[in-house]
């Protein structure tokens, strides 16, 4: 009697504490902010397709110009949903430092967004290749394909893999570098640059940096950042251009960063670091370097484009002057950036259709497309849009970067093993520039490891 009573009490107690736990669970969930609870239907394979009624979309954007700005995104979405009352849209702004982690964990936990905005190296080569994306062939109408190809066939090629399109592009640009015009002027280094074409030769680059160093106007002439993968397009372009090396072979099947030209370039950079004409910083990523440029601590930045110029406009007290990377042959090959939209296959056709409609609105609607491109600060992939900045207040800024557009080089970002090679790249730079490893050895190791990751 007594015994059974005791057990009963115990059971009661145990279930009570469990109940408490469960209650706590319920309570907590309700206090959890609702807008973030994207866990429910969005990514769940078993969720029933929303029949004609309300469709809820989630959009994640990497910081591509104003697409990384909260108010702008909200405005854009409000405009769309006002015209399409059946759709509600939530959005999330990613950054490049943590964005990949966020997307990876969202994919593995089933909370991936419907639409994502980035470039082909992620949309096509990574997520597309892993069968996570929806084929967007129907967005690539004949008209659209022809229009985009008129700008650059490379863009069309970059957005597809094995005959499937995983990205529908909106804009593009060339990544360049910039100099502090006033510092160059005062130090007498302007003679080394061609202001009309915004180009300079490798020899002149070295002379210019040495002049800046000797002038003592800034703490450091330039910083080769290699503390992480952020902004690595800048260091890649620097190395490739100095002696006209290539990053990959023409078919994008093999890395070629250990070619004679590239090794020579790496050795040159190393010697400039040793002489103080450049500074190598293994604790810096592009953000840190840009900040030093904006402060006037460094006289050049290797990570420049229209978007960065706009971001730092309020901070700089000088003229940041966009330049192509220095080359030995006078023909710079700048890294291109292509940005557009892709759709994660969350198994809900209604959502996929709604997502496609939204992408069409942003990229194809004649009025909206212009505005969308303006928001990015870059240039349209559609030739028919012409100069979207004509007559706007940013026309002059845009013109600066437009000069550099013809230097667009090979878009090699679609090669396999992209994420692995990014890590390998900055590690290689660290080894050469701060670790005392011979350039050829380190570059060979980079190529071996990166090729192995192409898979």
């Amino acid at each position: 009697m007594k015994k059974s009573k005791r057990i009963l009490a115990l059971l009661l107690g145990a279930s009570m504490s469990l109940g408490l736990a469960a209650c706590g669970g319920g309570g907590g969930t309700t206090t959890t902010p609702a807008p973030g609870n994207s866990n429910t239907p969005a990514a769940n394979e078993s969720s029933t397709p929303s029949a004609g009624g309300n469709v809820e979309l989630t959009i994640w954007t990497y910081p591509i110009g104003k697409f990384g700005d909260y108010d702008t995104m909200q405005g854009l979405i409000d405009e769309y949903t006002a015209a399409n009352p059946g759709v509600s849209i939530k959005f999330e702004l990613l950054d490049y430092t943590n964005g990949d982690t966020q997307v990876t964990s969202a994919i593995t936990s089933g909370t991936a967004p419907d639409i994502i905005m980035e470039g082909p190296e992620r949309l096509v080569t990574n997520w597309g290749a892993n069968n996570l994306m929806v084929d967007l062939s129907d967005l690539w109408t004949e008209e659209a394909t022809a229009d985009i190809a008129a700008t650059s066939q490379a863009v069309v090629d970059a957005c597809q893999m094995d005959g499937k399109y995983y990205e529908y592009p909106l804009c593009m640009t060339t990544h360049c570098m910039a100099i502090n015009y006033e510092v160059f002027e005062e130090a007498g280094a302007l003679q080394y640059i061609d202001e009309e074409t915004r180009t300079w030769t490798t020899d002149n680059f070295v002379k210019a940096m040495e002049t800046i160093r000797d002038s003592g106007l800034v703490s450091v002439p330039g910083i080769v950042y290699c503390g992480g993968q952020g902004g690595d397009q800048g260091t890649r372009a620097l190395v490739n251009n100095l002696y006209s090396g290539t990053y990959t072979n023409a078919d994008h099947t093999e890395y070629t960063a250990n070619s004679t030209e590239n090794v020579k370039a790496l050795e040159l950079i190393k010697s400039m670091v040793d002489s103080g004409a450049l500074n190598a910083n293994a604790g810096f990523q592009a953000a840190d370097e840009l900040q030093q440029f904006a402060n006037g601590t460094a006289a050049v930045t290797f990570c420049w484009n229209a978007s960065n110029k706009a971001n730092y406009a309020s901070q700089v007290a000088f003229t940041p002057y966009a330049m192509a990377f220095p080359t030995d042959d006078g023909k710079p090959e700048l890294c291109g950036g292509i940005w557009g939209f892709g759709i994660f296959d969350n198994g809900d056709q209604a959502k996929i259709d709604a997502a496609k409609d939204f992408i069409r609105y942003i990229c194809d609607d004649p009025e909206q497309a212009k505005e969308s491109v303006q928001l990015t600060g870059f240039f349209p992939v559609r030739a028919s849009l012409g100069n979207v900045y004509e007559g706007t207040e940013t026309e002059a800024d845009a013109a600066e970067f437009l000069t550099l557009m013809p230097y667009m080089g090979d878009y090699y970002n679609v090669i396999g093993g992209w994420t692995e090679q990014r890590t390998n790249w900055w590690n290689m730079l660290q080894k050469i520039l701060t670790g005392g490893v011979d350039a050829q050895t380190a570059a060979d190791e980079f190529v071996t490891n990166s090729n192995a990751a192409i898979g």
Partner: protein, 281 residues
């Protein structure tokens, strides 16, 4: 021996003076980062990036805070509190019950269970985070605060601590309760619980601080901006293309000040609780 003693007492005044000096220097070293966070948050971009440090913000500005609150920073703080308190309550409750059983009950599998707990205690979450994410997907808890709370509660450190603490309860008292006819649960809540209260206090503080600082789990589990904690928020204020230290310091101030204030106000209970928890260990 005597010689050594006299030598020691002879130098003892000098030794003490040196000790105090070192302690004061260390104190400055430990306070300084917090000071630099708070003052940094009131400096404008020019001052922050100046080549000569400004020890005190001469032209204090609120612009960093204006920028900070363009983000849902208040929400982040609230999320962090909900998360830490949720983890604390659940951990204390479950660990107190389990620790008591491990310390005072004789049962099959006890030694094995205790060994498993010891081994699992130091297990970093990085190891199991990939399977955890899958679980959260199945439970539909991904990207909610629960995804952070539940693994924290599962971590067996609390059970270990409460076991150590429960061992100090004299068996005679338990026996007396039993003789009086108290059931197991009544024994626990009316006899055991009051005796291990300080231990629970210690565990509460430990769990709270740990969960507050568990950046890794938060980083992996929480993807939506509105679900972030303040730690994630600060870390993300540092973008790829900018590192605005003024803004970051404003975020850090927001994260640090409430908990520092609570700590200083309840310093006595705080330290007592922690201390009591372990001294008995």
């Amino acid at each position: 021996m005597n010689h050594a003693k006299s030598k020691l007492s002879g130098t003892s005044t000098g030794y003490k003076a040196i000790t105090v000096v070192i302690l004061i220097l260390l104190a400055i070293f430990f306070i300084f980062p917090l000071y630099w966070i708070v003052t940094g948050s009131f400096k404008d971009a020019m001052t922050i990036n100046a080549r000569v440090p400004q020890w005190f913000p001469l032209n204090p500005t609120l612009e960093n805070y204006a920028k900070l609150f363009k983000n849902p920073a208040g929400q982040w703080l609230l999320n962090t509190v909900i998360m830490a308190v949720g983890a604390l309550v659940l951990t204390c409750l479950t660990a107190a019950l389990a620790g008591y059983a491990l310390a005072k009950k004789r049962f099959y599998g006890r030694a094995l269970l205790f060994t498993i707990i010891i081994c699992a205690m130091a297990l970093p979450k990085q190891v199991i985070v990939i399977p955890l994410l899958r679980e959260m997907k199945i439970l539909h808890l991904a990207d909610t605060l629960w995804a952070v709370i539940l693994p924290t509660v599962g971590w067996p450190f609390g059970v270990f601590l409460m076991k150590q603490f429960s061992e100090t309860i004299p068996n005679e008292i338990l026996e007396a309760a039993r003789v009086d006819g108290a059931g197991e649960l009544r024994t626990f809540f009316s006899v055991v619980f009051p005796m291990i209260k300080p231990g629970i206090g210690a565990l509460a503080i430990f769990t709270f601080v740990n969960s507050w600082n568990d950046y890794f789990l938060q980083l992996i589990m929480l993807t939506s901006r509105t679900n972030w904690t303040i730690s994630l928020g600060i870390a993300r204020l540092q973008g790829e293309m900018s590192s605005d230290f003024g803004l970051i310091m404003a975020g850090a101030t927001l994260a640090a000040i409430p908990i520092v204030a609570v700590f200083i106000a309840f310093q006595k209970y705080f330290t007592q609780g922690i201390a009591m928890g372990a001294v008995k260990g």
